[in-house]
């Protein structure tokens, strides 16, 4: 049963991530008074790219980087207790593992970027790395907050800490910080700095085409959904029935809401510069440190 849940969990992410991407695109279009593509367009995009020719400017590291990225996010997702139901693999990692796994995804992007030898990719990689460094603590502290409450670093315990009662001021503070960092996690305006189309033309991905690009895009979609799911699990413990299907369904609806939020925030903001963003992140880190400090004192 546990194994089944783990598999279903991964499958949900694999199948629904493009759909949510489609929702985001549609909502962007609505805000911009456009028709927008069909909601299932991202599926078409992925399929189309998988069949396209691969132009390779790099070396073998350039080739494996997209696969590493996708594999790392799938591994991270497989540990995730969607619907507050831990799968078989949840017991084999804790929050520190998840944090490091998410970083591995970022590293794969960087590896691909650096291997492409492209100057724009390097600019993008440099920005991406800075972003990883600066937003990872916020992510970490979100987890740590739960861990401190649950007195355990285990993934399910940490994520379900708010479900199990205690919310508190620190949690509210962290919620605000997480929301403020959300766009950075999912690399959308105002924090799509590493990809910045009009400056560095998708940055790290500039040399990618065909299946390599498809895998990276897929990785980005799943990552986006992961953060949305994380937000929902940690901060919005609406309901826990104990029925797997119901809980998952509820969470998926909540995730959809998060994507609506992402779209609205993204479509109503210009892109910031990396130097401005770094200062912004520094403030977020400071505030989340306060939140963690408060939790340590049980507030």
């Amino acid at each position: 049963m546990d194994i089944l849940i783990a598999v279903i969990n991964v499958l949900i992410f694999l199948t629904l991530a493009p759909l949510f991407e489609g929702v985001v695109r549609k909502l962007y279009a609505k805000v911009q008074s456009r028709m927008g593509p069909p909601i299932i367009q991202p599926y078409y995009d992925l399929l189309k790219l998988l069949g396209k020719e691969t132009l390779s400017a790099g070396n073998w590291a350039f080739r494996i980087a997209p696969m590493m990225a996708l594999a790392s996010i799938i591994t991270a997702v497989s540990l995730m207790p969607l619907g507050y139901t831990p799968g078989f693999l949840t017991q084999y990692g804790d929050i520190i593992t998840v944090i490091y796994l998410l970083t591995l995804g970022g590293v794969s992007v960087l590896l691909g970027a650096l291997s492409s030898k492209n100057t724009y990719a390097m600019v993008g990689a440099s920005r991406e790395m800075v972003t990883i460094i600066m937003v990872e603590p916020v992510l970490a502290m979100t987890f740590i907050l739960g861990a401190l409450k649950a007195k355990s670093l285990a993934i399910d315990a940490g994520m379900m800490s708010s479900l199990n009662g205690s919310y508190g001021i620190s949690m509210v503070l962290m919620l605000v910080v997480f929301l403020m960092a959300l766009q950075a996690f999912v690399a959308r305006q105002p924090f799509d700095i590493a990809e910045a189309e009009v400056e560095i033309m998708e940055g790290p991905f500039i040399e990618y085409s065909g299946p390599g690009l498809a895998l990276f895009k897929y990785y980005m979609m799943i990552k986006q959904m992961f953060y949305a799911a994380l937000f929902v699990a940690v901060f919005v413990p609406l309901i826990y029935t104990g029925y797997y299907v119901v809980d998952v369904a509820v969470q998926l609806v909540e995730i959809l809401m998060v994507f609506v939020l992402i779209s609205l925030l993204g479509s109503t903001n210009p892109r910031l510069r990396i130097d401005q963003a770094v200062k912004y992140y520094a403030v977020l880190i400071a505030v989340s440190l306060v939140a963690v400090g408060l939790t340590a004192y049980g507030i």
């Binding site: 998988l50 696969m67 593992t97 591995l104 100057t119 790395m129 800075v130 990872e136 500039i206």
Partner: protein, 619 residues
């Protein structure tokens, strides 16, 4: 006299003999290299056998050994054996690597190199086995320091190298003065064992214990490269020495400082009615030093544009993790709460684990950058790039070492950093400052990642060597690949089966009597709270929830492999054909030396934000 002590003296004698004999053959460079390796390997094998025996068979008590006219206390307990093992291992690997590597210094003779190398190893072996802070300690320290001084100033015709080496020598002597002074202030005479020092320290009052511990921390802190002392010498000394020596300096020698700190703060603690050891104070202090060191060292590392300087600064950062772990452990094992005590013990395991891991991957990284230096003649990251196709084996090795040191799951750095971070986070309920420290450590490991993205990216991927290096670049000969591959295998092993290392290290502490913690390790049944989970580790701390933290690299690797296979399937699923194209730069300019992104431009925003941390590279 136990025969192990005899074997120890025998190994030292072999090393001494090597130092006398090999320089005579220095004209024949290869031969000298092989001879040196032979002697070091024999001595190292003996040392390894000692190490194995004290760790896995029986830990020994202190013993007075007559070495010529002197009577010196030696101690071969499991703890000393552990360090002895690392030293022996790295010494053998480095000696093998030296055979080929020293070939490229064709304008420098090797007499001094092979004369000093064995004694340097001897000094390090001695410093972790002598059991005093006066006579034996001085001999060992000086043997280690003076020989390493000559090894560091190997390229003695370059004035800046001699200057840096002199500074190194001066600071190490200063550190020696601190430590020996501490021993005398504590009220001992020449040749007293540490046990005796501890006893006389037990009668001390007022400020004296603070002075003694302070001086000792200062002295070993210098050696271990704690901020701000490390920055004074380490980046210079480690980056200018020949790479095998850098590997030994960073991988092993600075660990003797770690050894000294642990040996004194956990063993040299009197248990008397009148004496109160303020473990919480010293723990918090050392942990603070550690956190500052790990943060500053790593950030400075990120700013470097020379591969070996980057690695050297990163050593400071990694030592920071170790020092932080020691401090946190010291703080926690001296606490009242059983939860904290247990966490402290686990943290201590993490410390020793990280010492081992760091020795291997940092040694590996220095050997890698040495190989690059050997092939290209430069360590300037701005001139390198694109070596992945030219030096594929070295590239893979460097990649694995980089992933390890960055703490990517399933690689060795992950397991030990995970231990250090998770214990300090879990301690948060009772000691909030440790949570903050843990978060800083976590943050810093992302910065570490950026260092190695840069190191690996600017050296092996990207582009640049075709313009920066004016010669043909080839993979290094097998003589330099074998040691690296060996260390790589070790590195992978250490990452995949952390449970084995946990169990071994717990055993080491439980067997090494006389410390603050050996009783605790035995009485609190640490091994019953650390569960085997597919050779990974799952920890349950009393007072916290039943599963407090988990790290199972093997399972993660399996899942990752499956997911990777899926990704590979997707990649092929569409039947996409591949075509080689040049890098595209908007259509007017091609990729050339000037359109290439430079190392100093990497992470510019973060560098500017963290300018105040120092270590900035001037143009």
């Amino acid at each position: 006299m136990s025969d192990l002590y005899g074997k120890l003296i025998l190994a030292m004698a072999i090393l001494l003999c090597s130092a006398v004999v090999v320089p005579f053959t220095a004209e024949k460079r290869k031969l000298a290299g092989w001879l040196n390796f032979f002697f070091v390997a024999v001595a190292g094998a003996i040392l390894l056998s000692i190490s194995y025996s004290v760790i896995f068979v029986k830990s020994l008590p202190t013993q007075l050994v007559s070495v010529g006219p002197l009577n010196i206390y030696f101690l071969l307990d499991a703890f000393a054996g552990f360090f002895l093992g690392i030293i022996a291992l790295m010494a053998i690997v480095s000696a093998f690597y030296s055979i080929e590597y020293m070939e490229h210094y064709d304008d420098y003779g090797l007499r001094s190199y092979y004369g000093n190398y064995p004694i340097f190893v001897l000094g390090m072996a001695a410093i972790v086995t002598v059991d005093d802070l006066s006579t034996g300690f001085t001999i060992a320290w000086q043997a280690m320091t003076i020989t390493s001084y000559f090894l560091v100033r190997f390229e003695h015709r370059k004035p800046e190298i001699v200057r840096a080496a002199n500074k190194y020598l001066f600071l190490m002597e200063l550190a020696w003065v601190f430590i020996v002074a501490a021993a005398f202030i504590a009220g001992t005479s020449m040749g007293d064992s540490i046990h005796a020092v501890t006893r006389s320290l037990g009668g001390a009052h007022g400020a004296v214990p603070y002075l003694v511990y302070g001086l000792i921390f200062l002295g070993f802190g210098f050696k271990a490269a704690v901020f701000p002392f490390g920055q004074m010498w380490l980046p210079d000394a480690h980056s200018i020495a020949p790479s095998p020596i850098s590997a030994l300096l960073s991988g092993v020698m600075i660990k003797t400082g770690v050894y000294g700190i642990i040996r004194t703060f956990f063993w040299m603690v009197p248990h008397t009615e009148t004496f109160h050891f303020s473990g919480a104070f010293w723990g918090a202090l050392i942990a603070s030093f550690g956190v500052v060191t790990l943060f500053i060292g790593t950030v400075q590392s990120m700013k470097q544009s020379q591969s070996k300087r980057l690695l050297a600064y990163s050593s400071i950062g990694q030592i920071g993790y170790i020092i932080f772990g020691i401090g946190a452990a010291l703080f926690m094992v001296n606490a009242e709460s059983a939860t904290l005590q247990m966490l402290g013990l686990i943290a201590l395991v993490g410390v020793i684990y990280h010492v081992l891991n760091h020795a291997v991957f940092k040694g590996l990284l220095f050997l890698t950058s040495g190989s690059v230096l050997y092939s290209t003649g430069t360590k300037d990251l701005n001139k390198l790039g694109g070596l992945i196709n030219l030096m594929p084996v070295t590239a893979v090795v460097a990649g694995i070492a980089s992933l390890s040191i960055s703490g990517v799951p399933s690689f060795s750095g992950f397991a030990s950093k995970w231990t250090l971070v998770s214990t300090s986070l879990l301690a948060g309920g009772e000691a909030p400052f440790l949570v903050i420290f843990g978060i800083i450590a976590l943050f810093t490991s992302a910065v570490t990642l950026s260092c190695y993205v840069k190191f690996f990216g600017m050296t092996f991927t990207s582009a640049g060597a075709e313009w920066g290096v004016g010669r043909e670049i080839k993979e290094v000969p097998a003589g330099m690949l074998i040691p690296k591959l060996f260390l790589t295998a070790l590195c992978l092993l250490q990452g995949l089966i952390p449970f084995f290392y946990f169990r071994t290290i717990i055993g080491i502490f439980a067997d090494s009597g006389g410390s603050l913690v050996s009783a605790a390790f035995r009485n609190m049944h640490v091994q019953d709270h650390v569960f085997n989970s597919a050779m990974g580790v799952s920890v349950g701390i009393p007072g916290l929830s039943s599963v407090s933290s988990v790290a199972v690299p093997a399972v993660l690797l399996a899942v990752f492999a499956a997911a990777f296979a899926f990704a590979a399937f997707l990649r092929r699923a569409g039947g996409s054909k591949e075509r080689e194209v040049p890098t595209w730069l908007c259509g007017y300019q091609d990729l050339h030396d000037k359109t290439r992104y430079r190392d100093k431009s990497m992470f510019a925003a973060l560098r500017n934000l963290l300018y105040w941390t120092g270590g900035n590279v001037k143009e």
